[in-house]
């Protein structure tokens, strides 16, 4: 999908504004990615404990409020929250991209098969998606992590497991509409096999919705990871996760509002940026669709 600068400029004001927002979103995401990638060179050690601090002749006990020393303050053990948030961003980004990647590959493959192969295969796959979609998402993800044991890998597996049916549905619909096209018939006439048609003709023609679904699904994955970790079903300490930092900070809400506050703020900004990029992508891929696009089932 190639869009030239001129096409951007000639679109109406609203779209231009929107694409500017999307660019801002891209900027924030890139910044967060850089922070996460070079975390050890940017922030102090997130496990560094500091149980007392001398200041103006007084001995202070953590949690310390935000200062030049600790941008976001510290937690009850004197650990720097900014450092923990940066490492938590690492977890969020990895989970978001990994989960969405896995669920997209699974969903696209099953959706293509469902939309193109004989009826009984289609029925089988669609009934499985019905069952998965009937589950309350957060409960299913919690059950799966409870079964597999908490940790980064199991969280990714659990979240990919709950996310693929949406993708499969979407891609199946696209595949169904494309399979009746003349060029598919033409390909079949010259002797192309089913898989070749699927991968070379059907898949490239559903790329637009697939790219949009990829970007729109990332916020959900990030939020569910944070939600799972918040409830103790997700990433386990010492690996920092934004959700578990917020959960730890719950008990200090009154004495140290910065403790749960800043991690959540960063999480919100991250999710907002990805959402803005998704909106921009929708506008570019399908200019006729007006603003309010459906967000994926982001329930957390």
């Amino acid at each position: 999908m190639h869009i030239s600068i001129r096409e951007f400029a000639t679109s109406d004001w609203g779209r231009f504004q929107r694409s500017r927002l999307a660019l801002a979103g891209v900027g924030v995401i890139l910044l967060f990615m850089l922070l996460a990638a070079f975390a050890p060179y940017i922030v102090t050690d997130p496990t560094q404990i500091e149980m007392r601090r001398e200041q103006d002749g007084q001995t202070l006990r953590p949690p310390f409020p935000p200062s030049r020393l600790n941008l976001f303050g510290t937690d009850q053990l004197g650990r720097d929250i900014f450092a923990r948030v940066v490492y938590g961003l690492r977890t969020s980004l990895i989970v978001g991209i990994l989960v969405r990647g896995i669920s997209m590959v699974a969903g696209v493959l099953l959706g293509l098969i469902s939309g193109f192969f004989p009826r009984y295969v289609d029925d089988l796959i669609m009934r499985i998606t019905d069952i998965m979609l009937a589950f309350p998402v957060i409960l299913l993800a919690m059950t799966v992590t409870a079964v597999l044991g908490p940790g980064l890998v199991t969280v990714c597996v659990a979240l990919a497991l709950v996310a693929w049916p949406d993708v499969a549905r979407l891609v199946r619909g696209q595949a169904l509409s494309i399979r009746g096209q003349t060029y598919v018939e033409a390909a079949r006439c010259v002797g192309a096999g089913s898989w070749r048609i699927l991968l070379r003709h059907v898949l490239p023609n559903c790329m637009g919705p697939i790219i949009v679904a990829f970007s729109m699904g990332i916020p959900g994955a990030i939020m569910y990871e944070a939600g799972l970790s918040f409830f103790g079903f997700g990433i386990q300490p010492p690996t920092p996760s934004l959700g578990s930092i917020i959960s730890d900070g719950r008990g200090y809400i009154t004495v140290a509002p910065w403790y749960p506050g800043f991690p959540g703020l960063v999480l919100t900004i991250l999710v907002l940026s990805v959402n803005l990029v998704g909106d921009g992508l929708i506008d570019v891929m399908n200019p006729r669709a007006a603003s309010g696009m459906q967000y994926n089932r982001s329930a957390t």
């Binding site: 009934r127 957060i138 939020m223 918040f230 907002l272 603003s291 696009m293 329930a299």
Partner: protein, 308 residues
């Protein structure tokens, strides 16, 4: 229409069997022995053994599975491992509270969301529009559990206006915070959908006609634009209600709201299979019913759609 509804309801049955099967499989892989959980950490091994035999945990898995399915088919949910009470009794107590919370949240988000959407569409590209759309995008990006915490700080801890958590009878002050937290993301989505739907209608010829004959703007909006923009709005409210039911466990746990989401969460923590599966079944059936209701409402709003 009746035949259509009945067929839709019958279609839920295989889905429920699938749900129960998946849950049964998952919970039986779960480490932890329910008999030991029931007996407590310091129980005598003999007691644990008695409980195991009484509850039938010593039978082969497939017997337990079929027995479980048979019970469910007869409408018997069994007894909770945790409360030792019949689950049906627990659910009758717990489910109405969830419905109460969900409806309060959806009504709030529908009223405020559509209203904001109308304002945004009427003042398209003005500062009000931009402000509303910014708030809408922001609302959709808040992590629900964090939003809940922040609202608790603001309204319960700092301002002392509302109770931080818990449950009171009826539409009490207790419901305001959880319902509002649940409503915020939905409200953003609805404002966006309403605005988009109205802008689409705005381009129609009959709107120009209505304006040309000198109708006031408010009247054009109320009589010509809103009714024609209603279909996407109603379908979004329906889809949103389903989304809301998905987010409800989180809110109920944080606000200590004794609904079915908290019940299911406690059941999961306690490895209480019968209670967990009963709540999942009830939630899944309610989601299907909401979906059916939305489809029927669709046909009512848009006479061009007819189900056979």
């Amino acid at each position: 229409m009746l035949g259509y509804s009945v067929r839709r309801l019958i279609q839920i049955v295989p889905i429920l069997i699938g749900l129960v099967t998946v849950l049964f499989a998952l919970l039986n892989i779960l480490p932890g022995d329910p008999a030991r959980m029931m007996a407590g950490p310091f129980a005598d091994p003999d007691v644990v053994k008695t409980i195991r035999e009484e509850m039938g945990f010593n039978r082969p898995l497939w017997v337990q599975y079929l027995d479980n399915l048979g019970n469910l088919a007869r409408g018997e949910f069994g007894r909770s491992y945790q409360s030792r009470r019949p689950i049906l009794q627990d659910l009758i107590e717990v489910f109405p509270k969830t419905i109460q919370l969900a409806i309060a949240a959806e009504v709030a988000s529908a009223l405020i969301g559509v209203w904001l959407g109308v304002i945004a569409a009427a003042r398209r590209n003005g500062w009000a529009d931009r402000l509303i759309m910014t708030i809408a995008a922001l609302n959709l990006s808040f992590p629900l559990f964090w939003l809940a915490l922040m609202l608790q700080i603001a309204f319960a801890v700092s301002l002392r206006l509302l109770p931080p958590s818990g449950y009171g009878i009826g539409f009490d002050r207790f419901i305001i915070l959880p319902a509002f937290t649940l409503a915020l993301p939905s409200l953003g989505l609805l404002a966006r959908i309403t605005r988009a739907a109205l802008l689409e209608v705005m381009a129609e010829d009959y709107i120009r006609t209505a304006r040309a004959k000198g109708l006031r703007n408010a009247l054009v909006m109320r009589r010509h634009m809103l009714p024609n923009a209603l279909i996407p709005i109603v379908s979004t409210i329906g889809a949103d209600f389903v989304r809301l039911l998905g987010g409800i466990p989180i809110i109920e746990v944080i606000f200590a709201w004794p609904g079915i989401g908290k019940y299911a969460y406690d059941a999961l923590v306690f490895r209480d299979l019968p209670a967990l599966q009963a709540s999942v079944v009830v939630l899944a059936v309610s989601v299907s019913l909401v979906n059916l209701a939305v489809d029927l409402l669709y046909a009512y709003i848009n006479p061009r759609i007819r189900y056979v």
